[in-house]
Symmetry: C2
Subunit: 392 residues, 2 copies
């Protein structure tokens, strides 16, 4: 046997991210590497009561096969909430997914042929990049400026090459924490129409704004059915439950549901019922408000520690929401080497290469997460990291 | 925009199966169409206690991101059980998946290029067929005889065409209920080596034997790493929880885990903890024994009703386990038309075309499920169906 793997799988490697996840398990390492919510926010007491009640009153429903599109009451709730938020119209539908990650997968599978061009942000989310790679898409990247994607640079690409899909996290972007301006969102939709491409708007952090003014989602202004929207309960309730959702124009949404059926049949019913019972019996908005306050505080703690300890040549974003910020060091730094030295000193982050389409170049940038560490560990970890940078 | 969907998604349609799932929701229809376990077997009381305890004692673990490969204690349990059953060796590993369906998806994604040939059984499982279609694989089918796959017919194909993967459900096959003989399993492994293809052994029903002698899994005799094994808790605990598992040689299993990470990050942790707590605190083998007895009884009820009411020209299998049997009518019958007439008379089944690689031909065969109906409904539904056949 000469070749084991399919071409699309051949070069795929998850080692950098997987290392990241595994580091989280080592309690002696201060990890700014993951993207996990604060465990302090998990409503374990409420869910103890909810899960017991589900099995007591409605256990067969929770354990039997369900409908691919989702658990009806949760679909209705998610749709009503998105309509109220102005993201979709009353004539739109939603599908519940196994986390927001699955929306990326279903979108790529439905829309992207091998060899098609997928435009991504530079930097972008590794789970998106690897997913498009796994369909043998051709990745091109577009820099993210302070107010989001550099649309002039993108238009230069669009004039020369036929782009099939743009993958963007416009609000509190992963990994940069940057939010795309309203003007850019509008222009992006016009460009999608003019150059005939789809937009996958991934919005897991959108509800986690702790300062500044709300910016409407791209989907909310989408009159031509160009946007596939990905939402998630991972950052506002629990990532371990794996409950996300999507909306798109009807033909695309239906195709995604057909694909979902042959991917995992349906998202676990129990998990959908738990999410539904939580958001109907408890105050979701109050819960989200608590998350915003906590993450706003933690972000401020991290930025304050960085302001005090990082050398002046370090640049970093100052997010208005979400759970990440992005550091840019002078070019002589290799963030992979910095990562190695960080781990030796018991502090971890995500090196820039994980967020880029070309994994093999050197990058002086890296991602920091502040949602999943105690205040004390944030200060301690940042001080260690500052020393690692100074001693580089 | 001239073309909406990727080539692989263009022709995909889930309507037949989805109609099936939706029929199950109509309480006036006696449905032999689904593949759902009996709700009488769901341990709702035990899971009420277990889920409350998980949130009380270990709630953060259940709600936080987990490791892609699975929840450690469940992985250990599944591996130990498979080693004890002789399916894998102590040096092998397992990965927990979001149902058995995901194993099909990960296998195809890792191993099958667009245009590669995937051999399937005739008839086969629609969720497998549609999955391979969704990777633009070329499907070829091999008839299933009374003792499993017709290996002479398969070898004729192998001599002419390069097959990449064989997809088989060798034990209590879906949809036929047929079990492949030990001799054929051995020969199949030799053929895989000789003709250089992989075998995806899908075994969700293997533990549900209610008569006859156990036949070793193909994986248990796999010395060369040719077999990817798919197992599931769907038919022995709950399908709604979506917990399955896989084992394969290390390089393939690792690649599948990398892909799983970009598909749904990990299987929900809560669901894995529930499965683990159930199988460690309760007697899984006793629970399975109860399932065997119930399905053996229901199969006998259905066969008895068919023996009494079906015309002599109807052929059908007499399974030794699992949850399906397969009917073959004379060629003048079109099982799709029979399905329509059945539904008019409030009885449903899966028409043969859903189980075939060519959906557009007419088939006189169909699938019956007996696990999810009351004894009374089995008898009533079979009598209605007998009349529909006689009046055709």
């Amino acid at each position: 046997m000469t070749k084991i793997f399919a071409d699309r799988a051949e070069g795929l490697s998850g080692s950098a991210i997987r290392a990241t996840f595994k580091l989280l398990a080592d309690p002696t390492i201060i990890s700014f590497a993951g993207g996990a919510p604060s465990p302090d926010l998990f409503p374990t007491g409420e869910l103890e009561e909810i899960s017991a009640r589900i099995f007591r009153d409605n256990g067969v429903k929770a354990l039997q096969y369900g409908i691919t599109e989702g658990y009806g009451p949760l679909m209705d709730f998610v749709k009503a909430r998105m309509v109220k938020q102005g993201i979709i119209k009353d004539s739109d539908s939603v599908v519940i997914t196994t986390g927001g990650q699955q929306v990326i997968d279903l979108t790529a599978r439905a829309l992207v042929n091998e060899g098609d061009i997928v435009a991504v942000e530079r930097p972008s989310f590794v789970g998106g990049l690897n997913n498009f790679r796994s369909y043998n898409a051709v990745l091109v990247d577009v820099p993210v400026a302070e107010d989001g994607l550099d649309l002039d640079a993108f238009e230069d690409i669009l004039k020369k090459r036929r782009v099939r899909l743009l993958y963007t996290i416009p609000t509190f972007q992963n990994p940069s924490g940057i939010t795309m301006s309203l003007a850019k969102r509008r222009r992006l939709l016009e460009m999608a129409e003019k150059y005939d491409f789809f937009i996958l708007e991934d919005n897991p952090y959108g509800e986690l704004r702790y300062r500044g003014e709300e910016v409407p989602t791209i989907k909310s202004m989408d009159e031509k059915g160009r946007v596939i929207y990905a939402g998630s309960f991972s950052k506002i309730l629990s990532p371990g439950l794996r409950v996300g959702f999507t909306s798109a124009r009807t033909d695309i949404l239906e195709k995604m549901a057909v694909i979902k059926q042959i991917v995992d049949v349906h998202t676990p019913v129990l998990n959908q019922m738990i999410a539904y019972e939580f958001i109907t019996h408890y105050d979701l908005d109050a819960h989200i408000q608590k998350s915003r306050e906590l993450y706003g505080h933690k972000c401020a703690v991290m930025l304050d520690a960085m302001d005090k300890s990082f050398p002046d040549y370090c640049g970093y974003t100052r997010p208005e929401g979400g759970i990440f910020l992005w550091c840019t060091l002078p070019e002589r730094f290799d963030s992979q080497e910095l990562f190695n030295r960080g781990v030796e000193n018991k502090v971890a982050f995500v090196p820039g290469s994980s967020c880029m389409i070309d994994l093999n170049k050197k990058y002086s940038e890296f991602r920091l997460n502040y949602s999943n560490s105690s205040d004390e560990n944030i200060v301690r970890g940042i001080n260690i990291l500052a020393d690692v940078i100074k001693n580089y």
